[in-house]
């Protein structure tokens, strides 16, 4: 799955579970979802739905605002989690805080 494909899958999940008052289809991948109206409760739903869809679990170290701030930030964290899950050798050291700060 390319990162674009992953982002579009994330976008669908945000649309379904994020309860945003705006059309998620119009949001840029780097757009701040909290600014767009995503609540803490909605972000939990998005997280759980992502875990279901991608068969991963967000560990406690990833539970930060920056992770769920945008479609792209979720994509980056998922990429790391998926590579860890598949046991890729020589993968990058997880850097969950790589996204922009709030």
């Amino acid at each position: 799955m390319t990162s674009d494909q992953r982002n579009e899958a994330i976008r669908s999940i945000v649309a379904e579970h994020g309860r945003l008052p705006v059309d998620v289809g119009t949001l840029g991948v780097d757009e701040d979802l909290y600014e767009a109206g995503m609540t803490s409760h909605a972000s939990v739903n998005v997280m759980i739905a992502l875990e279901d869809a991608f068969d991963v679990e967000f560990p406690q170290a990833t539970l930060r605002r920056a992770t769920f701030q945008s479609i792209a930030s979720m994509g980056r964290v998922l990429e790391v989690l998926l590579s860890e899950a598949s046991g890729e050798a020589g993968g990058p050291v997880p850097s969950y805080g790589a996204s922009a700060t709030a």
Binding site: Y34, T39, S40, H41, A42, V44, D52, L63, R64, F68
Partner: protein, 198 residues
Amino acid sequence: MADVLATSISSTARGEGGQALRVGVDLVAVADVGRSVDRLGDRYLARLFTDDELADCRGPRGLRLESLAARFAAKEAVLKVLRPSGSRPEWRDIEVRRRGGGWSEVRLHGEAARLAQAEGVGHVSVSLSHEAGLAVAVAAGTGRPDDTALVATAAGTDQHGGHDDAHDDAHDDAQHDHEHHDHEHHDHDHDHNERKRA
């Protein structure tokens, strides 16, 4: 009167030992919790609530959604008192239990307990309520003073000589929500629980 009250509970209020009062609040729509239970089921419940919390919320007709919602709000409110700078504790590490008298108390486990210790937060009190499809919780405790810089406010003045661009709590919740995501097991007492009908 309101101004005086606000001043006395300002973020710079100091108690003994230089501790600062911290307060957190959160508001949740009960229908949203209901929707989550319907769509995500046990994964949602198990991620957010401990077995004891679920038992506290169980009535003759099953889980009381408003009680779950109030507890979720309480966890978020407590998080705002703990103020993690890195990743936040798991929701289950902030446990809300009901006392026999109907009041709720906070129990911190794992990362939440460690965070509390790091932040100098001892007792955290919590109060829950729900009505008209909404659940709300407020948490309060003392902790080490916030030594971070104020966020720069937008330039510009209005005719009253200055526009305070600081967010009020509601605005703050909607947008920033303190998912700072980013502390021994404290048995913290009580406070006011919702005494609403089941």
